[in-house]
Amino acid sequence: MQKMRSSGDIKEEKSNTSNHKSLKSRSVSNPLIVVDEDGNYDSHDKLPDDVTQGVRSKNIKPNEKEDKKKDYDSSTTVESSDIISKFEKSEEFMEKKNKLMKSRQEMARCWVMIVFSYFVLRASFIIYPQWEDYEPEIQAVIIVQTVMQIIVFCVTSLSFYSEKYLWVTKWIVYFQSLEMVLSNFDRYLDY
């Protein structure tokens, strides 16, 4: 099969290789983009044709580059929701999107534990030492807060134990915000 390749195809491969090499110096921080050890982007993605129409650079002659640039520029003016909805057809893009979401969830669970540590310190040194001075309504609020934070701690610990429960983190973050709302009722205890 290789003997049947035309000279045009070989030139095309060379030009593609040079394009890959030019990418080596590019720094890619976005987790949605996967770059291999040599600095090359992987080529296993399967995108619908309408997404990449006008942006492929195969067999581009020098005079055609301007036209291709125009096509690329026009493709960038499409609304983001349109672009993303088209990309959702691509399995690889969705896989990378899930990877991005996972990294955000891992960051969020660490944040939740930091906020939990703030509650523990404040409860230990400020709230519970003055327990008998509080009105019954404030005591009820503090008990509810404590229960909510225990739930937060248990569920977050569960997500640390098994990544199967990592998705719960996004709800725990909002749940902890609600606990912060309740803590407004005991804020005058600080002075």
Binding site: N16, R104, M180, V181, D190
Partner: protein
């Protein structure tokens, strides 16, 4: 007073991080609006004695309510804008990647 600062900061961070992970936009709007309205309502409720209100207190609450209605949608809009921009950037990087093949 000191706790209020931390309380508001934690609420901002938590809702922002939550919005980054939430894919259902309507749900994101509803939850963020509820949390922020509840938060600011409790701050107003615990800061004023409603039985003994002067003119300054009424003006202060009125200004707070007006700016709550501006700030909450703005916060949601900004969080959503950052999230959308990040996704759009990723999508365009993906197109650019195809351009080099």
């Amino acid at each position: 007073m000191l706790h209020t600062v931390f309380n508001v900061m934690f609420t901002i961070y938590n809702t922002f991080i939550g919005n980054l992970m939430m894919e259902e936009r309507i749900l994101m709007y509803v939850i963020t609006a509820l949390i922020w309205l509840a938060n600011l309502s409790t701050i107003i409720y615990t800061s004023f004695i409603f039985e003994d209100m002067g003119f300054d207190s009424i003006i202060s609450i009125t200004i707070a309510v007006i700016y709550i209605t501006i700030l909450v949608p703005s916060f949601i809009f900004i969080a959503n804008y950052i999230n959308s921009e990040h996704q759009q950037e990723a999508a365009l990087s993906f197109i650019e990647k195809r351009n080099y093949k």
